[in-house]
Symmetry: C2
Subunit: 270 residues, 2 copies
């Protein structure tokens, strides 16, 4: 059976994912809001009211100085034992992710270890469940330098929205993102670790679908979907650590990315 | 410290997420490729070479007739026991997700039950780990009708790319998506359950980051990020079951969405 589509032209808005290309290498103390604002103007894509600015964790960490020089780290006995165990499990990672100094930083960033097998999954002090507590070598200048996650990603996002309002005169929502792995499915996806100005969870329970049946158990993790959308522009090796999502309609919200975290006692997989 | 952004205008491409609005209600036997092609033309947004068409599982299931009328289902003893247990756990879901006929369909779609607590997490015959095996009441005409996941989502995606090539004369990649929950984080996100014509996992191991350090453990689940990007346009109640992702650069690939599935023996959380 072949049917004709409706001929009426339906108007629905497109969403644009705009790379903020050309940011300089970010250094501790940099005014990230000002640098993004300036770069968007140089690129002739100035920020607009209702834009969502997605920033990679890496540049937020660098700006706030969330960097550790491994040469200054003295590994604890626990880190040394973990390094020995991990080197036995995955000798190919020697020198980086199995470095006892690196593992010491991971332990300092963690509330507890969730799994310690071929990957090291921890729960960070923020409550994120992720590999290596988000401690990362890549895209950090200096062979022994690593970034740790921002101390308070939701607070950093809120502060950036205030700075951006001063610079632009309009409301810009902010998501701070990082790439996390997940059970059951391979590969990393970009998720929201900090957010300000937009809903992070969209609760559709009680709403009805297009044919008037009530939607059940439908809470959409929109901040994670927005972060993932930005992720396809960021890539990883490309050096696009900031992306504007333009055209997504939302109501301003005081929700924080912390609201996405499932409480441990309600989590069947921890 | 405040620094100036580089003044050079950096050219990098934006990505556009275009709703395919105005599709008719899809029925078994419909030619989905033709309906999407026609609707895109009516919307004056014809498909172009290099576009990625993301289709919600719901319309693919409807077109292939992957629908079950619960009035024809006789629940097994296992389904009856599961219904009794689930009704005790979550009485508020009575009549829908605790219906023994619904649970019978879920069991028929499943290889095994992964968790049976406040949500029912199964592994489907395809290998997807998700709630209720993707069996769903919403946006399906008829009070007792449910959709099940397409029998072979990768095959359906491949077949759609062939049909779209015939209709348009150009290469269109296809992702079939569904909204799944995940451990640790609340809310559903849209993920790829079928794919054709594009890489689903982008392996950056061995590549170097922008400052020449080797990237480690970096495999990006790009098909899931593309599905999530489409998810912000689809919403859930809005009836936009098809979205074009335009401007994402990729090399044609024979990878299938099944490649995203972590093998059970390598999964720390199953």
């Amino acid at each position: 059976m072949r049917r004709k589509a409706k001929q009426k032209r339906v108007v629905a808005r497109s969403i644009e994912l705009i790379p903020v290309a050309g940011l300089p290498e970010i250094q501790p103390g940099d005014d990230l809001a000002a640098l993004v604002h300036q770069t968007c103007r140089s690129n002739r894509k100035p920020l607009r009211s209702g834009d969502i600015l997605v920033l990679a964790q890496k540049i937020v960490s660098k700006a706030e100085g969330a960097l550790v020089d491994l040469r200054t780290v003295v590994p604890s006995d626990k880190a040394l034992a973990l390094a020995a165990k991990r080197t036995a499990l995955r000798p190919e990672l020697a020198g980086t992710a199995n470095d006892p100094r690196f593992l010491e930083v991971v332990l300092q960033q963690s509330r507890r270890i969730v799994r310690d097998e071929h990957v090291l999954i921890v729960e960070t002090h923020h409550g994120f469940v992720c590999a290596n507590a988000g401690v990362d070598h890549s895209n950090v200048l200096g062979q022994d330098m690593v970034t740790v996650l921002p101390r308070d990603p939701d607070g950093a996002a809120a502060s950036l929205t205030r700075d951006l309002r001063k610079l632009t005169g309009v409301s810009i929502a902010v998501i701070i993102s990082d790439t996390f792995g997940r059970p059951w499915r391979l590969g990393l996806t970009n998720v929201a670790i900090g957010a300000a100005g937009l809903p992070v969870l969209l609760d559709l329970r009680g709403k009805r679908d297009r044919i008037r049946k009530p939607l059940q158990a439908t809470v959409l993790a929109v901040a994670d979907e927005l972060a993932a959308a930005a992720g396809i522009v960021m890539g990883k090796a490309d050096g696009i650590p900031a992306v504007i999502v333009r055209g997504y309609r939302f109501q301003a919200s005081k929700q924080q990315a912390a609201a996405i975290l499932r409480r441990a006692q309600e989590d069947l997989f921890r």
